[in-house]
Amino acid sequence: MERTTLDLWVGIFVVGGIAALVMLAMKVGNLGTYNVSDAYQVHAYFSNIGGLKPKASIKSSGVLVGRVTDISLDMERYEARVTMSLDKRYQFPKDTAAKILTSGLLGEQYIGFDVGGDEAMLKDGDEVKMTQSAVVLEDLIGKFIYSKAEGSTN
């Protein structure tokens, strides 16, 4: 089959389109940076998750180690059950504490891991026992007003 300049132009067009897609995937999207294929699942119960959402990041010492995969209300404990998918490369002791934190003053919420000192490591399906719920601004203000009122009566 003879080759024509037309084929060359169409080839350039197709290669350019695929290159744009790859560039979008690698440079704009997160395909190149975070891979969840090698992961293990743990879960934790929080009495209040605040504004935590699925796909929120999980950080230990500020390093991204996993993502929240599922949030549901446990109907026996009436607490939020948060399922987390952690990267296999990172192993944490069994007494690690999970805290819901906020990045910046108005930023999104994420889970921070405070690493404990246990010898045994968290395995797939384990529960993170020690948790700290999200700080809800209304509760804080309520406490503040309550303590103010208490102070003024004395």
Partner: protein, 262 residues
């Protein structure tokens, strides 16, 4: 009496519109059924890829660059008020990948390539080239319509991807190079916020759907045009209007399905 006449008129128009949709659907299915030729004799499709895809490159790239630059400028002006200029990359990339890339590229494609397809096929019909083909036992749908259809379907997602990619660089140019937003946070926040499957693949699916719809509308209007100069010009106008409206309406439906507020 005239009231009765006008009601009859409305009814007649509705019936003929529904009728036309039925014919268009049959035309689409026939195109799919006869598309074997456009792959067996792939040079036919290559030729159409050149005239629809390659010839639309310039307008898509220039438009993408300017849309990205405007997004960078406008986004910066708004985000500055909340002190979150570093989220500029997120705004530009999500806006382009999810919405503006597929939609604006499809609108440009409809007016650049769709109208040309309609006019070409309409003129072929007006000059009785299609009838001549039928006389020679050449199936005009397999020989003329199907290669154009596949060229449109293949080139639309590629054009939309190029539009988004160039647009991101346009936003980068205005935001980082000209205004001076931090380069690291521009890219890293963008990468953290844009998901490959949720955002980029959904954008590709959108542009694929738009490509199919625009090409089918353009080809059908051309094939169905009255074989007169007036008929062809009317069909070309209808192609641009109908496909633009179809793109915008389908975009709403697809967005509602893909991003259900999470």
């Amino acid at each position: 009496m005239s009231v009765k006449r006008s009601i009859q008129n409305i009814g007649h128009r509705v019936v003929s519109a529904v009728w036309r949709i039925g014919v268009a659907t049959r035309f689409f299915l026939l195109t799919l059924a006869y598309s074997g030729t456009s792959f067996r004799r792939f040079h036919l499709t290559i030729k159409e890829l050149f005239s629809t895809g390659v010839m639309s490159l310039i307008i898509i790239i220039v438009a993408g660059l300017f849309v990205g630059m405007v997004l960078g400028l406008q986004g910066y002006e708004t985000l500055k008020r909340y002190g979150s200029e570093s989220a500029l990359g997120v705004m530009v990339a999500l806006g382009l990948v999810r919405e503006l890339g597929p939609v604006v590229a499809a609108l440009l494609f409809a007016s650049r390539a769709g109208s040309a397809m309609t006019a070409e096929i309409g003129l072929m019909k007006a000059t009785e080239q299609i009838t001549a083909m039928e006389m020679m036992a050449v199936n005009p749908i397999a020989r003329i319509v199907a290669p154009r259809f596949w060229a449109g379907v293949i080139s639309m997602p590629l054009l939309a991807a190029m539009f988004s990619a160039v647009g991101v660089f346009g936003g980068y140019f205005v935001g980082v190079v000209q205004i001076g937003v931090d380069e690291g946070s521009f890219w890293s926040q963008m990468q953290a916020a844009v998901d490959f499957r949720e955002d980029i693949l959904n954008g590709v699916i959108k542009s694929f759907v738009f490509g199919t719809v625009v090409t089918v509308i353009a080809l059908f209007e051309g094939y169905d045009a009255p074989p007169t100069a007036e008929g062809v010009s009317g069909a070309t106008t209808r192609t641009v209007v109908t496909s633009s409206l179809a793109i915008l309406m389908l975009d709403f439906i697809l967005t509602a399905i893909m991003f259900r507020g999470n």
